[in-house]
């Protein structure tokens, strides 16, 4: 056993007491939420609760019978759609709700903007104003939607200074330094807020607005610079991960920043139609924004922020040839991820696939 065991044995009992209080409060809140959910149910909902599984079983039965008996001709399915649902489930059975600390600017030009994360201090510009933020622990679903508004007395009102970000327009992003301490906020950091509704004419405008040449880096999961290339078959998607060395990362970054194209409002059907392959990696901006970048062989590039509560995604049409070139660049110059224990390349298919982090 190590020294830390002794050190922790002398933890101030007031802190232990506080921990026990929080445990008890968390258990009570979960019980309250569960009760609330139960009492909200009405007879109609209870009926639905039984009818939906029954209808699902019936439909499933008919489908199995139909497919096996040749009632239907097999129609092509959107394997990307299924794959995306598998990789990014909207809910998981273990925890249907979560409690997140949510902060919103109360009024003024940034009232609808959302916080992303802490901004690197060297990106902070001049002070441009003052504002007030309302913040509270809030019950949200795993897709980020607010399930229950916090009680008024639990909402913190925090004064904050507004700063611009270096080389970024205050119409795109600003950062806040709090003058009052929130329960999950410090007085020393700068917190970036973005306009989730911001629209950009093309990828160049998007990356330019975020000063990506200075702020953006590629990664895959924590501390790993890699990219995945996924190939859609008729019924499944195969997945291969490539480690990206410094040279390739620089080349990819340069080409992504130089992309031209136009913004589109495209649904999944459009994006994935005639899309055999896509490449995925993550982008991190030192101003605090991060998210998933996907390059579709069908000629699109999408960015999905992972800390804007499901908002703020951007999709651009780039040419098919440019998208294919980018994917090929990763395949040709990336290093295949070979697991230590098997000596085989991760390139499985179907539900046994090793999912990316």
């Amino acid at each position: 056993m190590n020294l830390w065991d002794n050190v922790l044995n002398a933890t101030d009992e007031a802190f232990v007491s506080e921990m026990l209080e929080e445990e008890r409060a968390a258990e009570e809140r979960r019980a309250d939420a569960a009760n609330e959910h139960r009492t909200e149910e009405n007879p109609g909902r209870r009926l639905k609760k039984w009818l939906i599984p029954a209808a699902a079983c019936l439909i499933l039965g008919v489908l199995i019978w139909g497919v096996s008996g040749g009632l239907f001709r097999r129609t092509p399915v959107n394997t990307w759609e299924q794959w995306n649902a598998y990789l990014h489930p909207t809910k998981e059975p273990e925890a249907m709700l979560a409690e997140e600390y949510r902060a919103r600017i109360a009024e003024g030009p940034y009232a609808s903007w959302l916080p992303v994360a802490v901004c690197a201090e060297n990106r902070v510009g001049e002070k441009i104003g003052d504002t007030v933020v309302k913040a509270a622990w809030t019950y949200v679903g795993l897709d980020g939607t607010v399930l229950r508004e916090p009680e008024e007395e639990k909402i913190e009102t925090l004064r904050a200074e507004v700063y611009s970000l270096r080389n970024i327009s205050p119409e795109t992003a600003v950062c806040l330094k709090y003058l009052d301490r929130g329960d999950a906020l410090t007085l020393t950091h700068y917190y970036t807020f973005l306009d989730p509704a911001a629209a950009f004419a093309g990828p160049a405008e998007f990356f330019g607005a975020l000063d990506a040449a200075e702020t953006m880096s590629l990664f895959y999961s924590e501390n790993v610079t890699a990219a995945a290339v996924e190939t859609a078959g008729e019924k499944d998607v195969s997945y291969t991960r490539y480690f990206v060395g410094e040279d390739l990362a620089a080349a990819l970054r340069e080409r992504i920043l130089a992309l031209t194209g136009e913004a589109v409002q495209a649904d999944e059907q459009t994006l994935y139609a005639a899309c055999g392959k896509r490449a995925l990696c993550s982008l991190k901006f030192s101003i605090g924004l991060s998210g998933r970048l996907q390059i579709l062989e069908s000629g699109y590039l999408s960015f999905f922020p992972d800390n804007l509560h499901g908002e703020g995604s951007q999709t651009f049409r780039i040419s098919r040839s440019v998208a294919s070139d980018l994917i090929r660049l990763i395949e040709d110059r990336g290093t295949l991820d070979v697991p230590d224990d098997s000596g085989t390349v991760i390139a499985t298919t179907g539900t046994d696939i090793a999912t990316p982090e």
Partner: protein, 200 residues
């Protein structure tokens, strides 16, 4: 986590800790029985985070209850439950030292230890008690300056030896949030220790 702080004494009142303290102060054995009845299960669950064997868990809980009976009075803990937790943890750690096989130690405790060792090397208990006491002073001062939420998550992980998933489920946070919070707090602790002359 709630932003409204609850006073420990309120919790004690709710759990009956105040009445038990009164009985213990009067040296009434009914107090010892009530203490075991009210806190025994929770303490055993707490001990299970350090010891896999059920008999070991029961023994350390009995040790803790006995020590509490012997200590009160004169000791007058603000929170009887926190006092018992501390005694249980000490007994469990003491028992852990006698275990010879690593497989007998729950994985989450080993992982938590490893994470803290990275903050200040794998110092072992052959180092002096004075060193531990000095580190405790620094740690408590550091914890006092943290936001309540960060402090509780840190204690759940390293004092309570809970796994990241358990903490996430308990407080309705994502595992990644817990992980990032702990990393930030450990980094801060490392800086604090370095400023006090400790090097990893």
């Amino acid at each position: 986590m709630n932003t409204v702080k609850s006073e420990p004494k309120t919790a004690e009142k709710r759990t009956g800790g105040g009445e038990i303290l009164a009985l213990l102060n009067a040296r009434d054995e009914a107090g010892a029985e009530a203490m075991a009845r009210l806190y025994g299960t929770r303490l055993k669950a707490f001990a299970a985070r350090f010891l896999s064997d059920g008999r070991d868990q029961e023994e350390v809980v009995n040790d803790a209850l006995l020590k509490a009976w012997q200590a009160i009075p004169p000791a007058q803990p603000e929170s009887l439950e926190a006092f018992l937790m501390t005694l249980t943890r000490r007994a469990a750690i003491s028992r852990l030292r006698r275990l010879t096989r690593k497989s007998e130690v729950p994985q989450s405790h080993l992982e938590a230890q490893q994470e803290l060792e990275e903050v200040l090397g794998a110092a072992n208990d052959t180092e002096s008690e004075a060193a531990a006491a000095e580190l405790s002073r620094i740690l408590n001062a550091y914890l006092a300056g943290l936001p309540r939420r960060d402090r509780v998550i840190f204690l759940e992980r390293y004092y309570g030896s809970r796994s990241l998933s358990e903490i996430a489920r308990l407080f309705g946070l994502s595992r990644s949030t817990v992980d990032k919070t702990l990393k930030r707090v450990r980094d801060g602790l490392r800086e604090k220790l370095e400023s006090e002359g400790y090097t990893p």
